[in-house]
């Protein structure tokens, strides 16, 4: 898994490539990267799943932990461009009740300012 970070209008965008799974050992986990941004005072986080094929329970845990850390500081974490397969599983597991998921990055970015 490779995670690249970019910023737009005070929103931190994590572009994730590969699969978010336990066996893919990286220097820093997704949650650690999100927490670093939160420690820097960032409060708007967008996860770009365009190149994410699949995730395992570790990946789910990382996304949930990132959401909780962000939200409990008064911030917002949202997801964009999730695959249909993943979206279906998110629906069945009710994760769509927790996360705001967008098809389009522009709309996702706009939504941070609409609130």
């Amino acid at each position: 898994m490779i995670i690249k970070t970019r910023e737009k209008d005070d929103i931190v965008i994590f572009d994730i490539e590969g699969e978010i799974k336990r066996s893919d050992i990286t220097d820093a986990t997704l949650h650690q990267l999100v927490k670093d941004q939160l420690d820097r005072g960032r409060r708007k986080i967008l996860l770009n799943f365009q190149d994410v094929a699949f995730i395992d329970s570790f990946g789910v845990g990382e996304i949930l932990a990132s959401y909780i850390s962000t939200h409990n500081l008064g911030g917002k974490l949202k997801i964009v461009r999730i695959s249909k397969k993943l979206f279906l599983i998110f629906q069945v597991t009710m994760l769509t009740k927790v996360f705001e998921i967008f098809d389009d990055e522009e709309r996702a970015l706009q939504s941070f300012f609409g609130e």
Partner: protein, 832 residues
């Protein structure tokens, strides 16, 4: 430039922001120019009345005013809603100016009843003008601003009153009492100009509060509607009760005072002059008290204590009358009436007006009109009735009238105590939660363990039909294999290339692919699997196979070890083969370790605990290890505690332990956390605070001893001050923004911890609301948060915390923190 100079001058006396200075000065002069003529009109009113009537007729003047004022309230309310504020106030001032000229003319005709009419008119003028002024203040300012500036505004009123009194005292004997009335219209004209200037500066939306939007049909607010508003609100009823008791006491004291003056000074102009001088001196004393004490006292003691000052002093004053001989009663009368008026002009007035501010705008104005005018005068009428009953009918002496004053003062005190409780409630209601606890949001919608199992099941389909089957089996056992889920995780048999269950038994043959067959009975499957596992033959064969997999370690494929780890969790805890799980728990592969830890959770054998703890430092299985230890529960608390205390232990492990203890959440776990917090373990302090905060969030009746929390709080506050001072130093040295930004973020984290610590010893929801509104609220809600903290925190704590969160200029904040950090070094929050 001018504004800066103005601010520099005023800020010497008042806590005022630079942008507030011009408006505040206008408000100051507005009040000045109302009270100046009022204090000419007042001595004239009393003196003329006492010239034509005896003191026994005074109650009739009080009663007449009380009766008529109700209609005036209605008219005032209608005008308030009909016209925009500025126009309404201007028109009423013009009306009063015309009346004064008319009275001056009519007094030349020497009609006795005119003095009664004039008495009535004076009360209407004074009540209306002062109410209009406070309505203007409520239009312009929010509660926290108002509390800072109210002292400054009241100064304007006091100075105006002093000016008017001096003029009345000096000119009464020279030009005559009646001619004093001609001075007032000129002063009111200036007031008109100031009010118009004031409203011209305000944004329209601020002033539009409490009024109907343009285009909307404007409903007139009737007297009945105002009454109903007050009747339905406990807070407003108590406020009405307080005002009633206060005014009744004031009326009784006023009667005693005027009676003594009438008996002591017979000549009209001399009496006017005396009254002018008396009011002037009272105002000077009030002004001095006000400058030196009002803001200081309010800041030091808060509204809830200051509200009791006046009734307690008058209670003592009422008793004191019995110490004075009749010939010296004028001294007692001057002292008690002076105290009543001085306190009324300063502390009582400020407190009463501040008590209105937390009320919703749409209710505030209507209720204020009703209370200020009607309740006020009803109380005067009540006082008048008490005088008629006890003095006129029952022939009480002037001294004996104090026996009536004393119990009424007692009632005043009771209302003040009740209002104290309600005030905090109303401030809280103005604060909304900005964001919900995310853990709770997730828990409400998502079964985390099931979700993870589903993802693992789907993923394992690609890896191993054995793992896949085992995961399916778990879903079946949890009775969670819903039709939707079956559809999503079902697959075609020719897609599978993973090893089959047969390979585990080392039996050659085709792949067995477990499909999700609707025909398979879930319970039957469960029974069959357990029966197989219970067979001795099975145990013997499987033990050999697993030992072979485990001993080969990393040379064996990960998937084989994953299957073995998963299988071991399905065994009975007493099976000898289960011991092999130990090596799998600390396997290098996170996936193998994950399955092994999950299996260890099912088996709950104590020997696995140290190995699971070891895995807390592995980011890829940290969450699984955490969940496992939480599942172990009480039996791991002491082990976790000893690891937490061990300075040699890996810090990543130590940092993971507080969260586990917090989520175990039993009293023993809570005690362990509290004791570790008190133990001063700085390297894990943030984690300890977070864990305790989460515990309190789920168990709000949890009570932590202050002696545990206060020293940590003391330390955090001090560190915050030091960070602020460091930021100031960097800014002065012109250092780079990133350094300053890092420190600001560090300060922000400290503040979060300060509020989390406060949440452990104060009402959780109150502290949470206050913190959230300070971080993310509007200016108004931030001010309410500060007001709430001011009312609920203990004096020594709020003194040190409020400067960190108040909206004051940065250099002022640093200055205060420099002063406080020295004080903090000498003080401990645990000291009584």
């Amino acid at each position: 430039m001018k504004e800066k100079r103005l601010h520099r001058i005023i800020s010497r006396f008042v806590d005022i922001r630079p942008d507030e200075a011009p408006t505040a000065v206008r408000v100051f002069f507005y009040f000045f120019l109302i009270t100046f003529p009022a204090y000419i009109i007042k001595p004239v009113k009393v003196s003329l009345y006492l010239s034509w009537f005896t003191n026994a007729r005074l109650p009739y003047a009080y009663l007449l005013t009380a009766v008529v004022i109700g209609f005036v309230v209605v008219l005032n309310t209608r005008l308030l809603n009909r016209f925009e504020r500025r126009r309404y106030i201007s028109l009423s001032q013009l009306f009063f100016m015309a009346n004064l000229v008319a009275f001056w003319f009519l007094f030349k005709l020497h009609w006795p009843w005119l003095s009664l009419l004039y008495w009535l008119w004076s009360d209407i003028f004074i009540a209306t003008s002062v109410t209009q002024f406070w309505i203007a203040v409520n239009d312009i300012y929010n509660p926290h601003q108002a509390r800072r500036l109210v002292g400054f505004f009241v100064s304007g009123g006091l100075l105006g009153g002093i000016g008017g009194s001096i003029l009345a005292s000096r000119l009464a004997k020279t030009i005559g009492t009646e001619n004093l009335l001609l001075v007032c219209p000129a002063i009111l004209f200036l007031s008109l100009a100031v009010v118009n200037g004031l409203y011209a500066r305000q944004p329209k939306e601020k002033v539009a509060e409490g009024r109907a939007a343009p285009g909307e049909k404007k409903k007139p607010t009737g007297y009945l509607e105002s009454f109903n508003l007050v009747r339905k609100s406990r807070y407003l009823l108590l406020l009405s009760g307080l005002v009633t008791a206060a005014i009744t006491v004031s009326t009784l004291i006023d009667f005693q005072f005027n009676s003594v003056v009438k008996e002591t000074i017979a000549a009209k102009d001399a009496r006017t002059s005396f009254l002018g001088a008396f009011f002037g001196v009272v105002l000077v004393v009030s002004y001095i008290l006000h400058i030196l004490f009002t803001s200081l006292v309010l800041k030091k003691f808060g509204i809830r204590v200051v509200i009791l000052f006046t009734p307690l002093i008058l209670f003592v004053g009422a008793w004191a009358v019995f110490l004075f001989p009749v010939a010296a009663l004028i001294y007692w009368a001057v002292a008690v009436k002076g105290a009543d008026k001085a306190l009324d002009h300063t502390l009582s007035q400020a407190v009463r007006e501040l008590l209105y501010i937390p009320i919703q705008p749409e209710v505030k104005y209507k209720a204020k009109i009703f209370i200020d005018m009607f309740v006020n005068k009803f109380a005067s009428a009540f006082g008048a009735c008490l005088i008629l009953l006890f003095y006129t009918a029952l022939k009480f002496s002037l001294k004996q009238m104090s026996f009536i004053t004393i119990p009424v003062t007692g009632v005043w005190i009771l209302f003040a105590v009740a209002l104290n409780r309600e005030y905090v409630g109303i401030v809280k209601r103005n604060l909304k939660i900005k964001w919900q606890d995310a853990d709770k949001i997730v828990s409400q919608h998502v079964d985390r363990n099931l979700t993870k199992l589903i993802f693992d099941t789907i993923q394992s389909r690609e890896k191993s039909s054995v793992l896949y089957a085992m995961n399916l089996f778990d879903l079946i056992q949890k009775e969670k294999l819903t039709p939707e889920l079956r559809k999503i995780i079902s697959y075609k048999s020719d897609e599978i290339r993973a090893k089959s269950m047969d390979s585990l038994l080392d039996v050659s043959g085709g792949s067995f692919v477990p499909e999700i067959a609707d025909t398979v009975d879930d319970q039957e499957l469960d029974v069959q699997v357990r029966e197989i596992m219970a067979l001795d033959a099975y145990q013997s064969v499987i033990q050999d196979r697993i030992e072979e997999i485990v001993s080969r370690g990393q040379t064996e494929a990960d998937v084989d070890r994953m299957e073995a780890a998963k299988l071991l969790g399905m065994m009975v805890p007493t099976a000898p083969v289960v011991e092999d799980l130990s090596r799998l728990i600390i396997d290098d592969s996170p996936e193998v370790a994950k399955y092994a830890i999950e299996s260890a959770t099912r088996l709950k054998k104590p020997e696995f605990v140290p190995l699971i703890i070891r895995q807390l430092k592995n980011a890829f299985v940290h969450e699984v290890a955490t969940d496992a230890l939480i599942d172990y529960g009480e039996e791991v608390i002491e082990t976790l505690r000893s690891r937490l205390r061990d300075p040699q232990e890996d810090v990543a492990i130590r940092r993971g332990i507080p969260d586990i203890l917090g989520r175990i959440g039993t009293p023993r776990a809570t005690d362990a956390l509290a004791q570790e917090l008190a133990g001063g373990r700085e390297d894990v302090e943030p984690e300890l605070i977070d864990a305790l905060y989460k515990l309190k969030s789920n168990h709000q009746d949890l009570c932590l001893p202050e002696r545990t929390v206060l020293p940590v709080l003391h330390d955090k506050i001090k560190k915050s001050y030091l960070v602020l001072m460091e930021i100031d130093k960097l800014l002065l040295d012109g250092k780079k923004a990133p350094l300053v930004k890092d420190l600001e973020n560090s300060l922000s984290r400290s503040l979060k911890h300060i509020f989390e610590l406060l949440g452990l010893i104060y009402p959780f929801e109150d502290i949470r609301k206050a913190y959230q509104n300070i971080c993310a609220g509007t200016k108004r809600s931030t001010d309410y948060s500060l007001e709430l903290l001011d009312n609920i925190l203990k004096k020594d704590l709020k003194e040190y915390i409020l400067p960190l969160v108040e909206d004051i200029p940065f250099d002022e904040k640093v200055r205060r923190c420099r002063k406080l950090v020295r004080a903090l070094e000498r003080v401990s929050f645990n000291e009584p």
